[in-house]
Amino acid sequence: MLQKSETLATLTNAGVFRADRWLVRDVNFSISPSEIVTLIGPNGSGKSTTAKMALGIIKPDAGDVKRRDGLKVAYVPQKLAIDWTLPLTVRRFMRLTEHVSASDAKNAMISTGIEHLENAEVRTLSGGEFQRVMLARAVARKPDLLVLDEPVQGVDFTGEIALYDLIKRIRDELRCGILLISHDLHVVMAATDRVICLNGHVCCSGPPKTVASSPEYKALFGGRAAPTLAVYEHHHDHTHLPDGRVKHSDGTITDSCHKDESSSDV
């Protein structure tokens, strides 16, 4: 009981079935306050779908998603197009979904380094500026759970490191749970408490250090870890066939991802 009320959101065997195929299935993980969980995986591996289940935008077709009562969520979507017809300044954007006090808005803009953009029109911002504006808006809400879909998109490498530092600082200040999505991770290991690798299902998951030192991880990721900056390459040893079966790198086809049926899920 106590354990349950502690977690912000829990996914149990959750899956989404659309147009005759499973977008993602058998997803198990939970996210707690002050925890950064990262979903990684290639395009179409179900990262956004999984995040949307956690957000409550998509109802699972299988399994169960539990969210804490009165959970306050802030969401930074992957894409947000604002065209010329919509006059929207950063100051107004900060109050998009609820009233935010002037001081909360100011603090959020200062901590994300965009206070000089307060009166700028949102559509005139560069990609990196807009990412920080979206982050500032989410932070100003003081959420329990912050979901960031590809927050480093369109941000250069130095900006990327700064952004991950910023995300960690947000976690320390707000003590909120953060669900992070990325398909191309360079700094993920330094910036996260738990990694969940998706490829239509959970391939492997756990704290980055435990996962990194495990033989399964080495086999799966072939990672190279530097002290501060973990750059890794991601190789999937199997692909998912349209009928749900799995083709392995050696050409064999089985019903499960792990030929010996031993799961590397944590």
Binding site: T85, L86, E98, G113, T124, R141
Partner: protein
């Protein structure tokens, strides 16, 4: 002042412009111009039904608009045809149905032109009451759903994730649109209603730095268009409804003149300068 037909026309026209402006902003932001067109075309079917069942025309038009909105939502869920094809199908088939139904009722002689292009000079005191009371209700509801509707306009998933229930505000918006079509049909006619929704909003965009400001400005632009259009129609003996739309178009063209200055761009420039001055290390 309600005894003079011209004053009645101006009061009715202003009532419509005050509601059409803010709602028209959402039409422009959400790219729903064709949706507005569809509802107003369907209005003629509502007119036919009103004659058939001898009910109030405004109520019948509202009812038909709601039916068409719901039909659109259901057909979109089925996902067989694209939205614009569905809108075209609904718009023109309901317009044609309305015309055919009216032709069948041989015992009724109606002024079809009055419904197609409006008959603002013939508004009664009852029409004015409908427009102002209905308009006040629409504006009050719009204020209530403003934040969730605007958030859903910017991004539906973001609004839903943060507990705004965009489905509900979208439905409410469709009902408000139906109400506006119903009360403004008499003023500009079914073929020109969309113009009253879109042109003032498009004119207001150049002078607005925020959504709320744009909504208020487009209501004002609409009022100016109604007043100048009606005086123009009196002066040159032109049809009233189209004259209002022409006046709105004239205001839009004036707003494009460089003399008025593209305000939003200037604001962006000064921000850019400030940004360059302040640019320091990243946080």
């Amino acid at each position: 002042m309600f005894d003079d037909f011209f004053s009645r026309a101006i009061i009715a026209g202003i009532g419509v412009a005050l509601v059409a402006g803010p709602l028209g902003c959402f039409i422009v932001w959400r790219r729903l111009a064709y949706f507005g067109d569809t509802l107003s075309h369907a209005a003629l079917l509502g007119v036919a039904l009103a004659f058939l069942f001898e009910i109030n025309i405004t109520l019948a038009v509202f009812g038909i608009s709601v039916c068409v909105s719901v039909a659109l939502l259901l057909l979109q869920k089925k996902g067989t045809l694209s939205s614009d094809a569905l809108l075209g199908l609904l718009a023109h088939s309901s317009l044609a149905l309305g015309l055919v139904a009216l032709a069948f009722m041989t015992w009724i002689r109606i002024d079809l032109m009055g419904f197609l292009f409006g008959d603002i000079l013939a508004v009664s005191k009852l029409d004015i009451a409908f427009i102002w009371i209905g308009g006040a209700v629409v504006l009050a509801l719009l204020v209530i759903i403003w934040r969730p509707l605007f958030a859903a306009t910017v991004n539906t998933e973001l609004a839903e994730a943060e507990g705004m229930n965009p489905g509900r505000s979208n439905l409410a918006f469709m009902l408000l649109m139906s109400a506006v079509i119903a009360i403004s049909m008499k003023i500009v006619g079914v073929l020109l209603i969309t113009a009253m929704l879109i042109i003032p909003a498009a004119t207001a965009r150049r002078f607005s730095s925020g959504p709320e400001q744009m909504a208020v400005l487009s209501a004002i632009v609409g009022c100016v268009a109604v007043i100048s259009g009606l005086f123009g129609s009196l002066e040159w003996d032109t049809p009233a409804g189209p004259s209002i739309v022409v006046a709105a178009l004239a205001l839009f063209i004036i707003s494009l003149l460089p003399a008025f200055g593209p305000k939003p761009v200037r604001a962006g420039d000064s921000v850019q300068q400030k940004h360059n001055e302040k640019q320091g290390p990243l946080p």
